[in-house]
């Protein structure tokens, strides 16, 4: 299996304060990795840094994707290369419908024009997987969406854009049992349809039930403190993070 994402000694800072103090990890094509750690450990920072958020400055180290250095790349370039981040708190953008936004993104990422009719078909199929009401397509992007609806809309975008690497930042937090099931089904469908890789930042195992975990990374205080296979998830769930802090 070839290497998809490679992070080497990554340091990031926000507002002049260093958050990640040298993190290294690699994700191969088709793998599923889990990132766990206490609150404020830097998990979301890692996800955002991979996507190229302007909130964080990379102060040291490198991020490579498909063998190329993307450390300084703009977020849209990273998206075109095949990186996707499911946001923990997606922004509300009034005036732009979910459908026209996603169609625009689809055309950019794939580099091809798509007829409105065909796109609607694609969108409808993805919405069915997530049991989303078709009316959401014509609603303004995330405007007035509940927490659960926002998370579903993120997974919907994942299903339409079909990236090579999906980073899911606590996509399961704040969801009720049914919503977790729906979101999990969406993730499973992504995996089945594309064979893409997953980097899942999470606190619980429900979302992982339908997936085969290849590797688990524990982050505490901006550093990787432990790594292991799927068994590490269960251990953390049972014993907490105390031994890593």
């Amino acid at each position: 299996m070839s290497e998809l994402l490679k992070i080497t000694d990554l340091h990031t800072a926000a507002d002049g304060k260093e958050i990640l103090h040298g993190v290294s990890l690699a994700v191969n094509e088709g793998e599923t990795h889990i990132i766990m750690g206490p609150n404020g450990a830097g998990k979301s920072t890692l996800g955002s840094a991979i996507m190229g958020s302007p909130e964080y400055t990379v102060t040291g180290g490198r991020i490579e994707f498909l063998g190329g250095d993307i450390t300084e790349e703009a977020p849209d370039k990273r998206a075109k290369l095949g990186i996707f981040l499911s946001f923990q708190n997606p922004v509300e953008i009034p005036g732009i419908t979910l459908s026209s936004f996603l169609r625009s993104a689809y055309e950019q990422v794939t580099g091809e024009r798509i007829k409105l009719f065909e796109f609607k078909k694609k969108l409808k199929a993805a919405m069915e997987v997530l049991q989303m009401d078709a009316a959401y397509a014509d609603r303004e992007l995330n405007v007035g969406f509940s927490g659960g609806e926002k998370k579903k809309a993120e997974i919907l975008q994942l299903l339409v854009l079909k990236p090579k690497l999906a980073i899911l930042d606590e996509t399961d937090s704040g969801l009720d049992v049914d919503a977790v099931k729906t979101v999990s089904a969406g993730i499973k469908a992504y995996k089945e349809q594309t064979g893409g890789s997953l980097l899942i930042i999470t606190h619980n195992t429900k979302i992982l039930e339908a997936l085969t975990v290849d590797r688990t990374h524990i982050i505490a205080d901006g550093r990787l403190v432990a790594e292991g296979g799927a068994e590490l998830v269960d251990e953390v769930i049972a014993n907490g993070f105390e031994k890593y802090i």
Partner: protein
């Protein structure tokens, strides 16, 4: 050079908002009357200088759509008089050009209603000077003015909006709101939202937001693969599409999309 678009009450001269100066040639003049108890819709394309006088009689309603999409721009003067219970819904779109536009509405009648929805998309070295005045004479008259626009490159825009509550206009309500998105370091935006009031029993408000697109919005859209210039286009569409859909005439909507360089498949 003639002084046009004169602000009803002058303010600090150095701001350059008290009037616009233009060469004015001969202009087309037309008068429109909407008779009692009737409703009309009218769509106008304005490419040369014009003066339009509108009178909406008792219990009548006019939906007036004006599209300014000529490359050169023009000088336009619109005056509206509203009788008792008369209503006008004014939709105006300014796309490019170099335009001076004055809109004076006399809300003379009881419960006269003025609703204006104005949008603009200006780039390169386009200039737009709008002087909108709503004079409330009638009791319980209402005005509702919404302005949405996008400025890019070296575009310059002045929007002056005056709600004038005359003495005796008891129970009148007026509101005015402008939202401007600025894209490009050389744009100049001037916004002057005036309320004049000589009546106690009124309710007036105005608001304005002027500035850049939220950085978080930009990041979110970029993270989905949309490059910056495409984001600006999306934002522009988002602002104008809502307004264009209000035209309610397929032919006119197509023409507007054409002027904006969008195919309607994009919308």
């Amino acid at each position: 050079m003639a002084k046009l678009n004169i602000l009803p009450v002058p303010t600090f001269a150095r701001l350059g908002v008290n009037f616009a100066e233009r060469e004015v040639g001969a202009s087309e003049t037309e008068s429109i009357t909407v008779p009692d108890n009737t409703e009309q819709r009218l769509i106008q394309y304005r490419t040369s200088d014009s003066e339009t006088r509108v009178r909406v009689e008792k219990n009548a309603a006019l939906k007036l759509v004006r599209i300014f999409a000529g490359k050169q721009g023009c000088v336009s003067r619109l005056s509206v008089t509203l009788a008792d219970n008369a209503r006008i819904e004014l939709i105006e779109l300014y796309i490019g050009g170099d335009t001076v536009s004055e809109i004076v509405t006399e809300l003379e009648g009881y419960k006269a209603g003025f609703k204006a929805d104005i949008g603009y998309e200006l780039g390169s070295e386009n200039e737009l000077d709008i002087n909108l005045i709503a004079d409330h004479h009638g009791k319980k008259s209402t005005s509702d003015i919404t302005v949405n626009g996008v400025l890019r490159d070296k575009a310059r825009k002045v929007f002056k909006g005056t709600i004038d509550f005359k003495n005796g206009a008891a129970g009148a309500k007026g509101s005015e709101k402008e939202d401007v998105v600025l894209i490009g370091g050389e744009v100049v935006n001037k916004t002057v939202p005036v309320i004049l009031c000589a009546e106690e029993d009124v309710d007036g408000s105005h608001g304005a937001t002027i500035g850049r697109i939220d950085e978080q919005h930009i990041y979110y859209m970029r993270s989905r693969g949309i490059p910056e210039d495409k984001i600006y286009e999306l934002i522009t569409r988002a602002r104008l599409t809502r307004l264009i859909r209000k035209i309610g005439d397929e032919q006119a909507e197509k023409r507007v999309y054409g002027a904006l360089g969008w195919s309607d498949d994009d919308v």
